[in-house]
Point group: none
Chain length 209, copies 4
């Protein structure tokens, strides 16, 4: 009777998040009506508002959940010893991984929202900086190990990579007719020229089939 069942609570929260994500994907943050989200979550508005105080809170939760997943993905993909190889491997599944995260459309809206909503702004700023730092640290360590070229500024280059990937996702999702294969090739070329450890500068051409 009395015991607050945390499992049930978590389940409800997940139901709501799933419904919200689906709606946001289809209609965008402002196009998705709370009433529809509630219906899709199989709950009454009152109940949904018991778990999330406002639509904004829901949006924030969605973003934060995506951040968590993205971090995991990044750590898994680039965690190995041979960072250059890892980056190259990551290119192989670039689009596959991009499809897993939030839709590019939402990314666009999130960035727009960040311009005007301080709470979203903080979340986004933290996210971007964490990503840049994570990747930057990784590149720096790789340089120390000699597993990538020591010349580029690791943090500057990390920023470039993070933003580039984000842009590709958005552009692809917006249906701008990105040629995925072509882009992967270009990325590979760029990585080789910028990061390949000296001894692999020539051999590395073998990476590009």
């Amino acid at each position: 009777m009395r015991p607050v069942d945390p499992a049930r609570q978590a389940e409800r929260v997940q139901q709501i998040l799933n419904a919200a994500l689906e709606c946001f994907r289809e209609k965008g943050f402002h196009g998705a009506a709370m009433s529809v989200i509630c219906r899709k979550a199989g709950m009454s508005p009152g109940h949904v508002y018991h778990y999330f105080r406002s639509k904004e809170d829901l949006i924030e939760a969605i973003i934060e959940e995506d951040i968590r997943r993205s971090e995991e993905r990044m750590t898994t993909l680039l965690g190995g010893e041979d960072t250059y190889q890892a980056l190259n491997d990551a290119m192989s599944c670039l689009w596959e991984k991009l499809d897993e995260g939030l839709k590019g459309a939402l990314e666009g809206e999130i960035m727009a929202e960040a311009t005007r909503n301080p709470r979203i702004a903080k979340i986004v700023r933290d996210r971007e900086q964490r990503f840049r730092t994570m990747l930057g640290d990784l590149l720096k360590a790789a340089q120390a190990r000699g597993s990538i070229d020591p010349e580029p500024d690791p943090y500057g280059f990390a920023t470039l990579l993070v933003e580039l990937v984000s842009a590709l996702k958005i552009a692809d999702d917006a249906g701008t007719g990105i040629d995925r294969e072509q882009v992967v090739e270009a990325m590979r070329f760029m990585l080789r020229r910028c990061l390949a450890p000296r001894e692999r500068q020539v051999a590395s051409r073998a990476d590009t089939p």
Copy 2:
């Protein structure tokens, strides 16, 4: 009755576009109310709707105007003979130029809108492809001239550059704390490694002041 005065018409349209741009900048597409745009344009809603059938039309017009300006900018910046030098020079005024176009927030919203609105989608697709083609053609010609490295696929690399620049704008505007100097350095490094003509691969370091 009264003779149609095309000059007057064009003036009215510009008034509306200016007002709309200002509002969109401040509040975003969906945050900007038509009533406010009308007031700022110094016109009644009825009159504004005489020139634009809907808010969507207005948005489209704004986007198309921005495309025109961006094209001009790109042609001007990268038009010269020495494409590698031009790219490097462009880096010097990268942020300045980015501040001129539509706000990053709007870019984000446009991309999101493109996912759901076919007419916006078409405009955006055309824009992106035109930019990629323009820059790709430019790079290809430069390769032919020997003014940049002949190895990279000009169109793939063009896509990368276009999207990267777009992403930087969005991220910067969203207040993610981009270090503009650091990014410019990284871009320069990347350009040198990827595009610098062979004979300048070493000397090129002088480009980076």
Copy 3:
């Protein structure tokens, strides 16, 4: 075409105020739904909100209109030279006049609202102080003229009178079974004892039929 027709505007505003007053009377401030007020005013919500930015604004307008009318009534009733006589005459039409103003129920809600809503609080405070001052000035002048007893503090007594009248209205309207005749008699007695000019202290008994 163009000319903003102020007459029409004023008419619309009056329509809304009338509808609102009627609804507030029936249901109270918070019990009256804007949608009903709109319907009763024969206007769409959007239009009503064109004239009043919020329900609160509407409430304020209603209160302020009532204040204006009450002031007129007070000036008319007590304006004459023989203030004591005027007060006595006012007693004859006390209930009739009270029925003209806002309903007692609304008075109650206004006072409650004033406790929590600063804007209403200001309106109410100004109103009460103006009434007290008006009546106080009047009594003071009457004392100087010798047309009422010089002893009582005119402003303290004015406060008493103002509040007493307000209380009677509220209590009567709340259906507490006030005996109107009896109360008028008591008021007359009180006025005679407290305000009758010395020479009339005895003769005045003739006022009480």
Copy 4:
């Protein structure tokens, strides 16, 4: 199963009433949410609704509790032999006593509610009549004893006093800037002129310190 423990029940009811009173004071009847009252009472909504069938019931209980306390206060204050003296003494602690009862704001809401809600109406009517009768009886007896002036109609004057006191409370609480000292003086003056027993009509000035 479990034996009903009436003491425990009464305790629970008191908890609820205390919480409700506190909330009503702060937010008014309609501004106070049941959920907040429940939280403040340390009980679940389900449990609270076990003791009170509705918010209205709770309001009624609060009013009735206040009536009981007010009666006690009145009896205590005015119970003595020398009624005129007692009334004068009551003036000394008028505001202090007023602060003890329900807040003026609530009085306002109660009266408004009485206009529309028959059950509240009955409670309020009974209360007012009981107060008037109590005070009226008291004055009548005092007249018989010669401890106040025999002329005024005891019930009419009682009505006046009861309503006046109620109005002062409401007006004071609504922040209308009542000058408490000034009002007490005016009340004293009024009482002396209207109720002081003949022999004290002159001497009575000593009552006003």
